[in-house]
């Protein structure tokens, strides 16, 4: 019937306009999804392009050059694969990733944090790669630590590959410790010691502060979680259904920070700080201590912010007891877009295996890192166990350029990784205002703040479980 109507002379113009409009819209749609179109066309002709691999930006010239060398080597060995990188210091920006997943515009292979798989699955944007990953395509598969594999697995289905795993400790500025008459080989382990050392460092003057912490961009909640874990607390109950941070452990952490800021005046009045700020202060010699994973030193403070590798060391996370009960652990994964062709998935896995999961290559090319002057020897990423871990430790010992004793108390503490809480970013977001209030309000009512955040988090968790 409709065909007949369109066949009438009077409808020809309408049909013409409709077709033209449809073609126009199709052209617009094609523009907005050019990467996938290019990729699928390429896979048909035998050539495959993979977009989205997270590469160091040109502001880190040494790592940038290394990455491009690796891409050239890989593409020469695999002439049918083209790697299109995203050059960025932070490839997973939560707000951007959320928008991309909801719009279905994420790259072919995209980097996420350990807690992000649920979001990708909810958006229907994670491809099942179980059939493509085995001991042939990823030889170290059996030795990847279970907590990292868990971050890319739902049920028995594999959706990605982990590439980085971290735990956190207390980064110290050894030079400031020495100037303040403190022993840099014995970083503080209790909050009371942190307070004493921070006061001594702050007394150096010239805008130097003993301790720093985040309170913006979800980083405040992120650090609070780690400090809470170290103090024996947990963000949620084991089932992840209710908040559990409004406890003595949580109050003690916030009390310690509030005392550092207002009683000791050992923290700056400039707060609402997000990721990247404390690293700069540390590199500039203006900050004595803050908590972080070791890669802050060798990936940011030294190569980007211009710090001197010999000025830094690490201890375990501070706690009231002096022995951290645990630490927030996390890391980075690569997931695959649902629209990826089998050829793109295979090519992506091949690249990840080459760059991120093979000792002696890519991020584990420690000989090259040493040759170009990058610091080598940090026990990170903590990706492997068994034989692969033994081989990695041997490799680290062979090429190390750092003074390992500067990090011995952190390594010896062997902190228990606690993973990320359920709905991690939402929980961190809810705790940011608590951290900000504690660090800016001399009269902050800590129990009231924790009670308010508990109510907000409980609602988030209820919505989550209720769908």
């Amino acid at each position: 019937m409709h065909r007949r109507l369109h066949g009438r002379a009077g409808y020809r113009k309408v049909a013409g306009v409709t077709v033209a409009a449809a073609l126009g819209l199709a052209a617009v749609a094609a523009c907005s999804s050019s990467s996938s179109t290019t990729a699928s066309t390429a896979s048909i002709t035998g050539h495959v392009t993979v977009t989205g691999l997270c590469a160091p930006p040109s502001s880190s010239p040494v790592q940038y050059k290394e990455w491009n060398e690796d891409v050239a080597i890989f593409e020469k060995a695999n002439p049918d694969i083209t790697i299109q990188s995203i050059y960025s210091a932070q490839c997973d920006i939560p707000a951007t990733l959320t928008a991309q997943l909801d719009a279905g515009t994420e790259p072919d292979v995209y980097e996420v944090y350990f807690g992000d798989l649920d979001q990708a699955l909810d958006a229907g944007q994670a491809a099942d790669i179980t059939q493509y990953v085995n001991s042939t395509t990823v030889p170290v598969l059996k030795d990847i630590v279970p907590s990292a594999m868990q971050s890319v697995t739902a049920g028995s289905t594999l959706y990605g590959l982990p590439i980085f795993n971290y735990t956190q400790g207390l980064v110290i500025n050894r030079q400031l410790f020495t100037q303040a008459g403190l022993n840099p080989n014995a970083p503080p382990t209790t909050w009371a010691q942190v307070e004493t050392d921070a006061i001594a460092i702050t007394k150096l003057g010239h805008g130097i502060y003993g301790y720093g912490d985040y309170s913006a961009d979800n980083n405040g909640g992120w650090h609070f979680t780690s400090e809470l874990d170290a103090n024996g607390g947990a963000m949620t109950n084991a089932a992840g259904t209710t908040a559990s941070f409004d406890t003595t452990a949580g109050v003690q952490v916030l009390d310690a920070l509030h005392t550092l800021r207002f009683t000791d005046k050992a923290m700056s009045a400039t707060e609402a700080l997000g990721w990247g700020t404390l690293q700069k202060q540390m590199a500039a010699g203006k900050l004595g201590m803050y908590i972080a994973a070791p890669d802050d030193i060798y990936n940011v403070i030294v190569p980007i912010d211009g710090g001197n590798i010999n000025d830094y060391g690490m201890g375990p996370l501070p706690s009231v007891s002096g022995t951290p009960a645990g630490t927030l652990s996390g890391g980075d994964d690569y997931l695959f877009a649902k629209r990826d062709t089998p050829a793109q998935i295979e090519a992506g896995i091949k690249w990840i295996n080459f760059e991120d999961l093979t000792l002696g290559q890519g991020q584990y090319n420690l000989a090259r890192n040493k040759a170009v002057g990058l610091p080598v020897g940090f026990y990170e990423p903590q990706m492997f166990q068994g034989a692969t871990n033994t081989a990695y430790t041997a490799l680290l010992n062979k090429y190390t350029t750092i003074n390992e004793s500067y990090y011995s108390t952190f390594v010896n503490a062997n902190e228990k990784p606690d993973g990320q809480p359920v709905d991690d970013q939402a929980l961190y977001k809810s705790l940011d205002p608590v951290m900000l209030s504690v660090l800016t309000n001399p009269n902050a009512n800590i129990p009231q703040l924790l009670a308010g955040a508990t109510s907000a988090v409980n609602q988030i968790l209820a919505n989550s479980s209720g769908g």
Binding site: D116, D122, S268, K429, L436, A456, N463, S464
Partner: protein, 335 residues
């Protein structure tokens, strides 16, 4: 000479030879349909382009947002959720805080952002020298990208290294935490700081519009007032304000709609929430729902809050227009 006199015509109008009887008018209308279409073809072309743009980029997203606010998405499947998203936002403890903060910003922005440009425009209008230079100076901040202007203020407000605290310190006055002030009692120091930055950024545009309106006021009115012994305050009250009433009321409505959508100011100055959520706005809450919470992010809840904001602003605009129309009607001189 009389033959040369013609009736004034609006551009594009035709001579009045179509004025015939009723039958003639019908006949003429039937015959002139195609030529009229032809004559206005280019106008229709432009109209279609504009309507299509609005339909695609304004009206469709609004309809889509409304539909999304009643849906939920899970595992890539979208289904109807009834009022669940609305229940979620109304049960959120920060929902009312965000509305309270938004109203506070709107009221303060009216106080500062509405009055200051008006008085600056009066001042500029009275000046006899360096007029162009000063107008340029007043408008300059509008040309700065908002992010740059706000980063500048973020530096001014820095409690440790900021310019404002340096000045206060030099004058032996107590310093402030500015946007990081913890208070939550109206008006908060944090919100006043945000409003000051917003006013500085945006006042140039309003000032120029007021200035244009002021220059349309006949000088004779002021001369007559001066002869009657009116001072500057009386002249403003009895001449300037009544003569610029239409512009003032239009800008008032536009400003309220704009300030109710406050987002970027607090987002850059203090991360969006402020201490004790004292600068968290409704639009920031929409952003949080949509993007900032990873797996708990929810476009549908964000859409529900967007619809609530749309309804509030729509009701306000409708009410405002109705009120101002009624007043115009009442103040019309009776014949």
């Amino acid at each position: 000479m009389a033959d040369l006199v013609t009736l004034p015509q609006t551009p594009g109008s035709r001579p009045a030879r179509r004025r015939t009887g009723a039958g003639g008018a019908r006949r003429s209308s039937a015959h002139s349909l195609n030529p009229r279409l032809r004559r206005h073809l280019s106008a229709y072309g432009f109209l279609i382009g504009g309507v299509l743009c609005f339909a695609l980029f304004s009206w469709y997203p609004m309809v889509r947002e409304f539909i999304m606010s009643f849906q939920k998405s899970q595992l890539g499947v979208t289904s109807w959720a009834g009022l669940a998203n609305y229940r979620r936002i109304f049960n959120d403890p920060t929902f009312w805080t965000a509305w309270r903060n938004t109203l506070e910003f709107t009221l303060l922005a009216l106080l500062f952002g509405f009055a200051v440009p008006f008085f600056v425009a009066i001042l500029l209008n009275e000046l006899r020298h360096a007029k162009g230079y000063l107008r340029c100076l007043v408008y300059l901040p509008v040309m700065l990208p908002p992010a740059s202007a706000l980063l500048l203020f973020a530096y001014f407000y820095d409690p440790t290294y900021g310019l404002f605290n340096d000045i206060l310190h030099t004058l032996h006055l107590p310093t402030s935490q500015w946007v990081l002030s913890p208070g939550t009692r109206w008006p908060t120091a944090a919100m006043i700081s945000v409003v000051i930055a917003a006013t500085w950024m945006n006042m140039g545009g309003a000032t120029l519009i007021y200035l244009a309106a002021l220059q349309n006021i006949p000088g004779e009115l002021y001369e007559a007032a001066e002869l009657d012994g009116a001072g500057i305050v009386k002249k403003i009250r009895h001449i300037t304000i009544p003569q610029t009433r239409l512009i003032l009321s239009m800008l008032l409505m536009l400003q309220i709609i704009a300030t109710m959508q406050m987002f970027v100011e607090a987002f850059i100055l203090d991360g969006g929430q402020g201490v004790n959520n004292n600068t968290e706005s409704v639009v920031y809450l929409i952003y949080q729902y949509a993007f900032a919470m990873s797996s708990a992010s929810n476009f549908n809840a964000a859409a529900a809050l967007g619809v609530v904001l749309l309804v509030v602003l729509g009701a306000f605009s409708g009410g405002y227009l109705w009120l101002t129309r009624t007043r115009a009607h009442l103040s019309r001189p009776r014949s």
